[in-house]
Symmetry: C2
Subunit: 436 residues, 2 copies
């Protein structure tokens, strides 16, 4: 991972950050790095995520998944228990005959039914993922899947892999039915768990190179230094922080790599749930180049000066899909170009177009889209996020604001308990102004 922050400097962009300000900020980065490095060495809550490349036992994941040879993989989880898996399913190379990975990460009955109708249930491995084992959406979905399998005459106990914490209903079920089980590591919030069994089990089921993924992350972990001018992840985090303070309240993650579209979703959770507290937090926008040039670029270039645009560019692609030569008038400039050349020209033009309008942007580059570079990218973004949390002085690893709604939903569904009842009552007090 290489980071070019030239287009975020004050000489180019408004908002922008001066080199002098970056040098001053680098002292705070050094202190933050000491805090982060201590935290990961001691495996403190949250910081433990950044020690995963050294701690995670890839062999356990490979052993738990080796006995399966599915036609499809169904991850049943939500939020951090699904986004890592879908990110890796799209980003990591896999054998030509690798099974597709689907995620059941919502409880819309029409969608659940049509997805399950489309799957070869007798050849599908289900990976149910919930640290607590009590996540309502995940447990409800898993029970629906299990019943479907039973009705189809499929022995669900032969096709279920459980990823959960040390205790809870899923752990109890796994013990009762002697299911293969992987452990969600302690001290690692879901949004930081992609390098653990939470993210890697489904990748291993499709034959992706999880060992190299973790090795790439380990390289990035070993390379962390105490300066933003030496560590790409810190350069990115520091610039995002500095621009945020200078008015870039949004951060558009815009890979020019289709296989990284789910990565943008993963990044959006990482950024929003870690940094969105105490009235602070940059709002992540999910974009995709070149597609969103025809959708969001007008706003990025001519709307409010409240955005940082983060590009991810792949510099080396396997040659593929040349544009044929029999071109209509006015399109002859495309002759002989590959689609990859077109995509890269669009990237460079868009980056320059934003710079010409003084809109700050950062270029994150990877060479090839392989397991090692994906590991570096994911670890780098996690580190950048933790750095921003340190610089802001917030609690990066909690998510207190989602609790109220969970309690209220339980109350609306009739769960017993005072907080549930109070929250359910509060829901009924809604102010209305209906236009029909």
């Amino acid at each position: 991972m290489r980071v070019d922050i030239g287009n975020a400097l004050g000489a180019t962009a408004t908002p922008g950050v001066s080199r002098t300000a970056l040098e001053q900020l680098d002292e705070r980065v050094a202190s933050a790095h000491e805090r982060i490095d201590h935290g990961r060495r001691e495996a403190e809550h949250g910081y433990a995520a950044l020690s995963l490349p050294r701690r995670v036992n890839v062999d356990e994941v490979l052993a738990a998944t080796a006995g399966f040879d599915p036609e499809a993989v169904l991850v049943v989880g939500i939020g951090g228990s699904a986004l890592g898996a879908t990110t890796l399913a799209a980003a990591l190379p896999a054998p030509d005959d690798a099974p597709p990975v689907y995620a059941l990460d919502n409880v819309d009955p029409a969608h659940v039914s049509s997805l399950l109708d489309s799957l070869p249930l007798s050849e599908t491995v289900v990976n149910v993922v919930s640290k607590s084992g009590t996540t309502a959406e995940t447990l409800a979905n898993f029970l629906v899947v299990r019943t479907r399998m039973q009705r189809a005459g499929v022995d669900w106990t032969e096709q279920t892999l459980v990823t959960t914490g040390d205790a809870g209903p899923l752990r109890a079920m796994a013990d009762r039915h002697d299911l293969p089980t992987l452990r969600v590591p302690n001290g690692v919030p879901g949004r930081f768990s992609v390098l653990s069994a939470v993210g890697t089990a489904s990748a291993a089921l499709r034959g992706a190179d999880v060992t190299r993924l973790v090795a790439g992350a380990r390289d990035a972990a070993d390379d962390l230094s105490g300066s933003l001018f030496e560590t790409p992840a810190y350069a990115y985090g520091a610039v995002a922080f500095a621009l945020g303070r200078r008015g870039a309240t949004s951060n558009a993650m815009m890979p020019y790599v289709e296989a990284l579209e789910p990565f943008a979703e993963w990044f959006a959770q990482l950024w929003a749930e870690s940094l969105g507290k105490d009235g602070l937090g940059q709002t992540p926008l999910r974009a995709l180049g070149a597609t969103d040039q025809h959708s969001q670029l007008q706003l990025y270039r001519a709307g409010p000066r409240d955005k940082l645009v983060t590009f991810v560019r792949q510099t080396k692609r396997a040659a593929a899909a040349p544009v044929p030569d029999d071109l209509p008038d006015g399109l002859s400039y495309l002759a002989g170009e590959g689609l990859g050349d077109l995509l890269d020209a669009e990237f460079r033009a868009t980056e320059a177009s934003l710079a010409a309008a003084g809109r700050p942007n950062v270029r994150v580059e990877i060479d090839r889209l392989d397991a090692r570079s994906v590991g570096k990218l994911l670890y780098g973004m996690e580190t950048a996020c933790v750095l921003v949390g340190e610089l802001e002085g917030i609690e990066t690893f909690t998510q207190p604001a989602v609790e109220w709604g969970k309690v209220a939903a339980r109350g609306l569904l009739g769960a017993a308990g005072d907080p549930e009842q109070d929250a359910a009552d509060a829901v009924a007090e809604k102010e209305r102004l209906v236009v029909d």
Copy 2:
């Protein structure tokens, strides 16, 4: 479409809008309505989009698509030439054996190759969509698809439906090969074209009820009055405008209907490209309930007070997918509930959770997800967007900021011409600060 703006009032939310301020704003809505109504009656540029429900010739679309019986539909287009089609493909009911609709809306060579590898080319109808017939991504992709078909021994002229303007390379090609062709209506920007042949051709190919879709939009068009208190679309647009002025610089579109996930993408283009100009424009965020409760909700509830959250709720669902009764301890509250009940409880809890934290939100309701209500919803959001443009005093129907990049990309690919050369030269002048 029913709109409840109660949770956006000043009594509940900060930022919020008072009833008095809404009453004052209603006078400006009345003037804007006169402008809009005149524009659509005269089919002026842009405003013509709002006359589509009366002008569009559904029979032409049905006639052009009636001869096909494909196993798959491939829309080749980008931006407004693809988002309407993907929105309708997901949102409109269709027969059980309806062909899936895929969109080739990016030029990543790895993605294009793997998508084309997966399609039954001899049974795939290609709908290539570009008003000018010169959109680089679309033409390049179409030429790649055509060559693939030729190599597979498929007569592409028998399986191609062209949607384009009155002139240009695609029109010329359609004439030369006598291809079935539908016309992109004049005066209708791509992002407002979902109700025309641009959006409906692929929907018709999969047997969706396009006639009812347009009829629903026509009902909404006929019901426009000059007051936000009588017209749901104006209520929504006026509140979005008022909150934007009061600090809600972002607008999160969060349907609690999985089939409306592409609708949120469509909305994001509509909002961003229409309103993002002159330093103005609310930034659209694409979200999905309940999934994003586990990703974005922390930020929406506890981050900066700069967001409006727009929910879309479906009130009536076909009963489906009950949660089985054999529940682990602590989850018995789920017993006997359907997944739809769980999803709706999550919606109500999340809405109340934001309200309890004083975060403005609007509820948009539809009863069933059928062609008629989808037509009303799409027309309603288009109308809301045009209203915001009127209230802001901007040019809603242009997208000037994307032009520079298009010229530069052509220049980088070697197109001749002074602006191309100048822009390509400018790209080379990039300021660099690389951390590796």
